[in-house]
Amino acid sequence: MQNPYKPYPVRIDNITVETEDKSLKTFKFVFLNPEDEKKFAYRAGQFAELSIAGLGEIPIGIASSPTEKGFVKFTVFKTGKVTSYLHAMKEGDIMGIRGPLGNSYPWDLLEGKNVVIIGGGFAFTTLRSSIVSMLQPENRSKFKDIHVIYGARSPGMLLYKDELTAWAERDDINMHITVDGTDDPDWKYHKGFVPAITEQEAPPAGTDTYAIICGPPIMIKFTQPVLDKLGYRHDQIIMSLENRMKCGVGICGHCNIGKELVCKDGPVFTLEQLNKTPKEY
């Protein structure tokens, strides 16, 4: 029997400030025991509990891609007790990660399909993991067209800017980057909210087109009717939930929506599945 609450010890290898307001940082971890990395084999869309002795644990989506070896990355928004402490930690510090947890995006289902990724704000982390993984030469041929619609308040609030720019140059992925507003005269991408850009740029619905949406509730609320209008079926709309969690392994009871436990049965659900559960998210 393995203790499901015990984290793997890790060292903070690198910290990157992602946004102009410094509220988001990316933490790159390496495992203290190299064999733990193999046990941490994950799929894009899964999350982990970041564990700081003396502070507690927080569930955070895995931002690195399974194809990136030797480390795992997480992008964390500074908001409360544990996240604020983490933001003050330094490279070289020791902490723990526990996982991988949750079900991931449905990669078996998505194979051979057009994939439309719609993200807003800082909920772009597991979407980055997905994009990096899909764009790997050995994986790219498994998917048809890839569209990405990603929006933030301003250019300085976009995550992973260098990668976004590099992806925008490629012809095997259709990037639709947008900001709510900017006075930068050189801004060469969209201006406008994600739902509006989705309406303009998302490919038409079809039996083999699937959309993954991650973002703040308000973005999801206004994007979903757009997808409905475009004809997407509810089993073609995939979402990831962020309920409050403690154990992350389906035991503590904190994260349920009806009989589903978001940590174990999710965090990824289709809208069709969510239509059958209480709206407790």
């Binding site: 002795a53 502070l55 507690g56 154990c247 349920n256 009989k259």
Partner: protein, 357 residues
């Protein structure tokens, strides 16, 4: 199955022998109420009790339990590394647990032991424990175990069942663990009377249980229509609930917990504490958004979990053994029997009240 007769005059001598092989736990009167406690050397359980005020769940699942220890001293080699503390998983025996409380262990085990993850703390405690039950001759008016998958003489989750026959106990030895315990206690005398006597006592006890829950339709009820039955069920129940959480703490089948780190200078522990879905903090996000921000949503969660989500998820009946503790202890008389029967008979079509969607 072996049935042994233990004269009451010899019972305590057996317990004393058991002290060599087991740590003993049992019901003890503390001020006005009974509680399960680790028995000191020579201390005897008080088997004249009806039931304990709080359930027996703490025997396997303490209200606060250390999961890990860590050092916060940067000069330590294992600084900030979580380590499992040494725990005593040597054999223990619980003497005189009621069948309903033992049945509750089977209910919560489905949560603590799953194909993917096993709660090692609960399971090691469970494996180390031998359960010596005490059949219930005098159920009280709040008992409804017979319609909640349990019963005053239920043997399903015990290792030994003691039946009180006046000057002796008939010990029904039900499992290998039970046989080992009976041997250690030196309880070997085969019982002469037995089956008939026991079944007569069982029927007598069962006939004293007058209240019941109806559960036969719960599985077929549509989950969302029960959830949406605000006007028919939830508003009325929520109106008086003060969200004190007593019901969840007293309950043998409520298993939710919170995890906190507690520091003492340069060291600390990660502990888990019983938590309650009755509290707003249980589900609030860091952003302040709370999916169950209203009292109604929380009381609905408690009953929907026990009487619908659990039923649908496991197909093993309700998450309640009918012990009646929550009914007895609720300060505003919220009664799970009433709620269960309403859920069981709820019909959104014929309901005259306005059902919100």
């Amino acid at each position: 199955m072996k049935v042994i007769k233990i004269d009451k005059s010899e019972f305590n001598a057996g317990l004393e022998k058991l002290e060599n092989a087991y740590r003993l736990f049992g019901p003890v009167k503390e001020q006005s109420y009974y509680a399960f406690k680790a028995l000191d050397a020579g201390e005897k359980p008080d088997l004249e009790y009806t039931n304990t005020r709080l359930s027996a769940k703490s025997l396997l699942y303490p209200q606060s339990e250390v999961l890990f220890e860590y050092s916060l001293d940067k000069s330590d080699a294992d600084y900030a590394i979580l380590k499992e503390p040494e725990k005593d998983y040597s054999p223990r025996a619980v003497i005189g647990i009621r069948p309903c409380d033992a049945d509750a262990f089977a209910v919560v085990r489905r949560n603590f032991e799953t194909p993917e993850y096993q709660d090692t703390y609960w399971l090691k405690n469970y494996d180390a424990t031998t359960l010596v039950g005490l059949a219930c001759d005098n159920p009280v008016p709040t008992c409804f175990c017979t319609s909640a998958g349990s019963g005053p003489f239920n043997e399903a989750n015990l290792d030994v069942l003691l039946v009180d026959t006046g000057d002796a106990y008939l010990a029904r030895v039900l499992t290998e663990k039970g046989e080992k315990l009976a041997d250690s206690a030196g309880w070997t005398k085969p019982a002469d009377q037995s089956e008939e006597d026991v079944s007569k006592r069982r029927s007598e006890a069962e006939s004293k249980i007058k209240s019941r829950v109806n559960t036969e339709n719960l599985k077929d009820q549509a989950l969302t229509s029960l959830y949406d039955a605000d006007a028919a069920i939830w508003e009325k129940e929520a109106f008086s609930c003060i969200n004190c959480g007593t019901c969840t703490y007293a309950c043998p089948t409520c298993w939710c917990f919170d995890v906190q780190d507690e520091n003492y200078g340069k060291s600390g522990v990660r502990i888990r504490n019983w938590d309650s879905c009755m509290y707003p903090l249980f589900s609030v996000h860091a952003s302040g958004h709370n999916p169950r921000g209203q009292k109604l949503a929380r009381i609905r969660q408690r009953f929907m979990h026990k009487l619908k989500y659990y039923v649908d998820k496991y197909d093993k009946g309700i998450q309640c053994t009918g012990c009646g503790r929550c009914v007895r202890m609720c300060p505003v008389n919220i009664d799970i029997r009433r709620v269960c029967n309403q859920m069981n008979s709820y019909d959104p079509e014929s309901c005259s009240c306005a059902v919100t969607s």
